[in-house]
């Protein structure tokens, strides 16, 4: 089978040029989806019978948590590809994905805490999902710290990639352990999601927000990776050409 397409994808230049065409689309999609979803969820979705209006936080909390977890697997996959095929671009993606994922994990934790106060009386409850989210945050921080600790970029990338993979294997184990531990100490089953079957009127804006967050994640990641590419390939002719173009287009803003 012809794997040329795969290896071509590993060329920073190819990646940069291809994504240049996608950026405006991702930007537009992100904006439209997020604004629509947020307005819909905050203003038009019916309020929850038990939780009242505080449940609206779900429209931020769930998408952030989703992406935080998905982002970790993306980061680990990028690391694995980097290790196996020694693709520098893949390492760049991994490196850029880490702080984005960590930030989203923080958003998930914060929104979760703020949701918890009016709903269950306290900002923090050591339940399985919250605790696992916190541990996910620590895992992200570990990957970032390891990556930055080495003098050699090469070694740092490899170490980060391995740690990300070790973390991936551990995430289900950690989740199961914490889940078990929590049910051990809280025999009363507090359902910490809204009712498992959500009314479509409440669910639809959530879907929009989740899609919006996916686009947002892609946007943030691509923006970050593209800067990283320019940085690494700064001595090449194609980068210099692009820099030249940008400077002559100074007035039309950033692109």
């Amino acid at each position: 089978m012809d794997w040329n397409w795969f290896h071509r994808m590993g060329s920073p230049r190819w990646f940069y040029l291809v994504t240049s065409r996608w950026m405006p689309w991702f930007g537009a999609a992100t904006l439209i989806l997020l604004v629509t979803g947020l307005v819909w969820g905050m203003g038009f979705a019916p309020e929850d019978a038990r939780q009242g209006n505080s449940f609206r936080i779900i429209y931020l909390h769930v998408p952030a948590a989703f992406l935080a977890l998905a982002g970790y697997f993306l980061m680990a996959s990028a690391g694995a590809i980097g290790l196996i095929w020694k693709m520098k671009l893949s390492y760049m993606v991994m490196k850029c994905a880490a702080p984005i994922g960590a930030a989203l994990t923080f958003v998930a934790l914060f929104t979760g805490a703020v949701w918890g106060k009016p709903t269950w009386g306290s900002y923090w409850v050591w339940d399985a999902r919250v605790t696992s989210m916190l541990i996910l945050f620590f895992l992200y921080v570990g990957v970032m710290a390891v990556g930055n600790a080495f003098h050699s970029q090469e070694a740092g990338n490899k170490a980060s990639a391995v740690l990300a993979l070790v973390g991936t294997v551990n995430i289900p184990i950690i989740y199961k352990s914490v889940d078990w531990w929590f049910t051990l100490h809280q025999p009363s089953t507090i359902k910490l999601t809204s009712a498992p079957t959500m009314h479509p009127d409440m669910f639809q804006p959530l879907l929009v927000m989740i899609l919006g967050f996916y686009c947002f994640y892609a946007l943030a990641l691509l923006l970050s990776v593209r800067v990283e590419i320019l940085k690494r390939e700064r001595k090449t002719a194609w980068v210099r050409e692009i820099v030249g173009e940008h400077l002559t287009l100074k007035d039309s803003g950033l692109r």
Binding site: I135, F138, A145, V146, A149, K158, I174, L184
Partner: protein
Amino acid sequence: MLTNTNSGFFAYLRRDLLLAYRRKGEAAGPVIFFIMATTLIPLGVSPEAKSLEGISAGIIWVMALLATLLSTDSLFASDFKDGSLEQMLIAPDLLVMPVLGKVVAHWLTTGLPLTIVSPVLGIMLSLPSSALSPLVAGLAVGTASLSLIGALGAALTVSLQKGGLLLTLIVIPLYIPVIIFGSAMAQFGIDGLSWGSPLAVLGTLLAMAVVLCPLAIAAILRLTTINQ
């Protein structure tokens, strides 16, 4: 090609035990920390049996975990500095064998002493006597996993100057399943329940760790110490 697949294991096991024996003071560090830090709890919280009873199992586990972390830092560090790590890497035998040998030696000099001392600390913290056996059994199995997982972190940070703190950061999330099931064993003992199932899970975790960690550690050592 390979003279004897086990040769690396026993050689390095003996070597590390011998090194630990020669530096007895250093080797005793984790146990001393374990005892002293555990003693802080009644001083910091309350000396009353009623208050200590509930938290004693957890405290002992956390302290054992921290004590293990303290000694994990130096697992590969001194070998890295004097070049013997490189010797390990270029030796014709499987790298997992020396790695496993070193980790077992680490457990024998850290985890095992901690396990042996733990009943004494249990009594000091008013741990109910029904919890003593599960505590010891849990620690015996759990500390082995802690040594294996900690070695992963040690391998990742071996070439770094201030690797210790980073090691702690990396390893603690990975330790969480072990501590959950380990202290649950003791907790079940306190409540009079059968502690077989958490022990089984601990055992499973150990089995997985024994198989996976040495492989990962060998890969990490090769990746991060070449061309430094």
